[in-house]
């Protein structure tokens, strides 16, 4: 059986993929979940409205600082209301805010009309699950060492661990060719040199540079 010969190095056709707006919808749902948790915590309606606006802005502009603002607002509210540190609302907030962070990072690279293919999400999803396992292991550790006697030891260990992690992040991201240098340019063009500029808000009708 000899079928028609196929070019050997041609990959399979790119499928349709998921619409990027559906991931923004997930982002919005996660944001609404955070709002609901904060309301359960006892946040007043006016502040709930403020957090709701931030959540909607975060879904509309994933590459904006809105997601970071939402995370900080939620953490501040949870800390301000006090109470049992390992209460259910906190345990719900942990995966929701992490999802908000990860999904905003991925979805923020493309406009809402884009198509997202499964192989793009798979590594991020695996990493998310792994981090959540570690986070809930941390919850388990916290449940075990809640005794007051263990607090100074835990404090020292926590600060040391934090210093190591912070140093790691700084070592990776900041050096003489720092990622945060605003004057760096991609070979052809990048959007205005603004931190956080991605394809998400990139103008589609841009002309190609001469000679390209």
């Amino acid at each position: 059986m000899n079928g028609p010969a196929q070019e050997p190095d041609v990959p399979p056709e790119l499928g349709r993929g998921l619409p990027a707006w559906s991931l923004r919808l997930v982002l919005l749902v996660a944001g609404l979940g955070v709002v609901a948790v904060l309301r359960v915590e006892g946040l007043g309606l006016i502040f709930v409205g403020v957090v709701l606006v931030v959540a909607v802005l975060g879904a509309a502009g994933p590459a904006s600082p809105a997601a970071g603002l939402l995370i900080m607002l939620a953490a501040i509210v949870v800390a301000a209301f006090g109470g049992e540190p390992l209460r259910p609302t906190v345990l719900v907030l942990v995966p929701l805010l992490h999802l908000q962070h990860v999904l905003s990072g991925v979805v923020g690279t493309v406009p809402w009309q884009a198509r997202v293919h499964a192989d793009a999400l798979w590594p991020a999803a695996m990493r998310y699950l792994g981090v959540q396992v570690v986070a809930f292991a941390l919850v388990g550790v916290a449940l075990l060492v809640r005794r007051p006697a263990a607090s100074p030891l835990l404090e020292v260990a926590g600060l040391l661990g934090l210093a190591v992690l912070a140093g790691l992040v700084i070592a990776i991201t900041v050096n003489e060719n720092t990622l945060f240098r605003r004057s760096q340019r991609a070979p052809v063009e990048r959007r205005g040199g603004r931190l956080g500029a991605t394809m998400e808000a990139w103008h589609a009708r841009r002309r190609s540079p001469p000679g390209s």
């Binding site: 790119l14 992490h98 884009a114 959540q132 760096q184």
Partner: protein
């Protein structure tokens, strides 16, 4: 690492993670540590310092494409080992303008999509813009504008309904009888012998009859020969009017189309499709076909035969359409029109100039057929209170121009699928012998 930069996600992960965990430890708030720890951990796991610049390259495609055909557009990805996401803006099948962005995994070596050409013409058909991102979109490279791939999509060749053109004959010359005497098969006249005539052309029956009438003596003056027509290729010149490009909607006549494109089913679109169809029909029979642009005579193509001429005409029609635009004086250059040529004028006939040109060509001895390419029925501008009046005036003037053409002896016809044109061409053959005969 030149070109890579951090995003808001990196800033968020680092600041929120370190800040919340640090604040939690210092304030003895476990919940802050629990919220901040995943962010910090995710950032540590995902952040990279890529060492090399990624590249995204589109494989070259043919510069010329056929309408309604499809081609495979392959893009090779070399995002580098530290990349996880590649956002590609790929061209959309059958649509003009920037395409849809696809977010794919960076492990793919290449992606391919199928492009189908749905509009003929010249333009940017493929440009791949890209952005490469590290894990979780913490660092990105780009967006980078891709190089533009220009492509010419040739106007389609539709078969003309059978009937109008002479039947195809095999041979090195065309199917049409020339006005000149020659070595063809069709009898032209019987005339007295002249020096230079071949003996085999002598018509002995007529010669003997002439001799008998002259006293029975066969003299050189009584010898008659049969004269035959030469057989030659017919010349067809398709004259298209690219000075205006209008469609049925009067409101849009004064508005240019986005990207200076032609109007779909507009007068130039119809004219080009009709020109291609007619040219293909005649060239298939071995006839000679040329092209003339009434707006820009320098873009014309002299008559010639063969498949290569059809390709040349289609390319030139794209050039004419690209240069389409108003010129006050159209021209039908006489020096480019051999006498006896059939001229098919494809125009919306929105001004008197083209009527004068057609009538003048008829007076020079050409056969002229006027094909109306004005889409109809015209739709008035509803936003304008004078819209209906304008429509009535335009329709009336247009009708008067076509009537004037018919009065001068130029048959006029609308272009639908070519059937009506075919009938008129057949009529031209009956009235003037065959197309291409000098009168």
């Amino acid at each position: 690492m030149s070109g890579w930069r951090g995003t808001d996600a990196l800033f968020r992960g680092a600041v929120c993670g370190v800040g919340l965990v640090g604040a939690g430890v210092l304030l003895h708030r476990v919940e802050l540590i629990l919220i901040g720890a995943p962010l910090l951990l995710a950032t540590v796991l995902a952040v990279r310092r890529p060492a090399e610049a990624p590249s995204v390259l589109a494989r070259p495609m043919p510069r010329t494409a056929e309408l309604a055909r499809q081609g495979r557009f392959v893009v090779d990805l070399r995002p580098g080992p530290d990349a996880e996401l590649v956002a590609l803006r790929l061209p959309r099948s059958g649509r003009v303008g920037p395409g849809v962005v696809h977010l794919v995994g960076a492990r793919r070596a290449a992606v391919h999509t199928v492009l189908r050409w749905r509009e003929w013409g010249d333009g940017v058909a493929s440009r791949v813009d890209h952005l490469v991102a590290g894990p979780d979109g913490l660092v990105v490279f780009g967006p980078v504008l891709g190089a533009e791939g220009r492509r010419v999509v040739l106007p389609p060749v539709r078969p003309l309904p059978p009937g109008p053109l002479p039947p195809r004959v095999a041979g090195l010359v065309g199917a049409h009888r020339s006005a000149r005497p020659g070595d063809g098969t069709e009898l032209r006249a019987i005339r007295p012998f002249q020096p230079g005539d071949r003996l085999r052309r002598v018509d002995w029956r007529v010669s003997l009859r002439a001799a008998a009438a002259n006293g029975g003596q066969l003299l050189p003056t009584t010898v008659h020969v049969r004269e035959r027509h030469a057989e030659a290729d017919a010349d067809l010149v398709v004259a298209i009017d690219t000075r205006v490009d209008v469609d049925a909607d009067l409101a849009g006549w004064s508005v240019s189309t986005p990207g200076s494109r032609l109007r779909v089913n507009g007068s130039v679109d119809v004219a080009v499709r009709a020109a291609t169809t007619l040219a293909a029909g005649y060239l298939r029979q071995g006839d000679r076909v040329g092209l003339m642009d009434l707006a820009r005579p320098q873009l014309g193509v002299p008559p010639a035969a063969g498949r290569r001429q059809l390709l040349r005409l289609r390319h030139q029609l794209v050039v004419c359409a690209r240069a389409a635009g108003w010129t006050s004086r159209g021209a039908l250059a006489a020096q480019h029109l051999p006498s006896g040529t059939l001229i098919v004028v494809l125009s919306p006939f929105l001004d008197d100039r083209v009527v004068d040109l057609a009538a003048r060509a008829l007076r020079r001895g050409n056969r002229v057929l006027a094909v109306n390419t004005l889409p109809g029925p015209l739709v008035a501008d509803r936003q304008d209170r004078w819209g209906e009046a304008v429509r009535a005036i335009v329709v009336g003037e247009h009708r008067a121009r076509l009537a004037a053409l018919r009065a001068t002896g130029v048959p006029t016809v609308d272009w639908n699928d070519g059937a009506e044109v075919a009938a008129v061409l057949a009529g031209l053959r009956r009235t003037a012998g065959r197309i291409g005969v000098r009168r």
